[in-house]
Amino acid sequence: MKCSEFLKELTDYLDGEIDERTKAELEEHLQWCHNCYVVCNTTQRTIEIYRDSKLYELPDDLRTRLRSAIITKCQGHKNATTEH
């Protein structure tokens, strides 16, 4: 297996969406190809770091304000459609 073929399958491999035979071939490649091993490992870390980062958490006070604005607008829409 070439490195370019390994890369093509990387997403399915990381997501576990791959058949056993291809998985075995990829893991065999990983045993001797240090570069692909590093790319695979650091790509996995990239996903985990973003997943765990709590980037763009909604602060409680803003959350309350937004929810109240949404519900007011929905109520307005409901009233308008009921009147017609």
Binding site: S4, L7, K8, L10, T11, D12, L14, D15, E17, N35, V38, V39, N41, T42, T43, R45, T46, I47, I49, Y50, R51, D52, S53, K54, L55, Y56, E57, L58, L62, R63, L66, R67, A69, I70, I71, K73, C74, Q75, H77, K78, T82
Partner: protein
Amino acid sequence: MEAIESKVGEPVNGETVLVDAARKGDIGAFEELVRRYDRNVFRIAQHITQNREDAEDVVQDAFLKAYQNLGQFQGQSKFYTWLVRIAVNEALMRLRRRRPERMVSIDEDVKTEEDSMPREIADWAPNPEQLYKQAELRDILSKTIQGLPASFRTVFVLRDVEGLSTEETAAALDLSVPAVKSRLLRARLQLRDRLNKYFKRRDGDGRP
């Protein structure tokens, strides 16, 4: 983080009942749906627009639009996937308004110089995220993902941050499954490449 946020891909107890009640005009039921998904929608919106005010507007507009169009929700997909679809469209619309000079489309299949093939192969420090303070790390991650084309970061955030399945992501974005996979691979590899300079293993104290 509430369980619901990491389990958006699974059937949600009582959701059909809530959607039905909201459709019949029960605002309280709709408020519960807002409570379940507002944090997810905000995160997605800010990832796409990269702007806090826009993200706030997207949250409001997406939920209002969902409420107004509940009658058209068929129940074939999950409510959350349907809501995400509305939110993504709203977010892309705001992004286009803010950056009219750049065509922003989820359909764009961007080919870039740094496409797929990794430019630098470097192992990372054992716990690279611990090399930085929380705020510093968030800044790095935010700056890094901002550099991706909108179509790549949208797929990445839905699939890898929000945990939607490939099929749900495809449905939410109106893309084919192979298109989602192709964008996801390139998004992941480009982010990895760009994070190299912050996280790679160095001699000495391990800090860049």
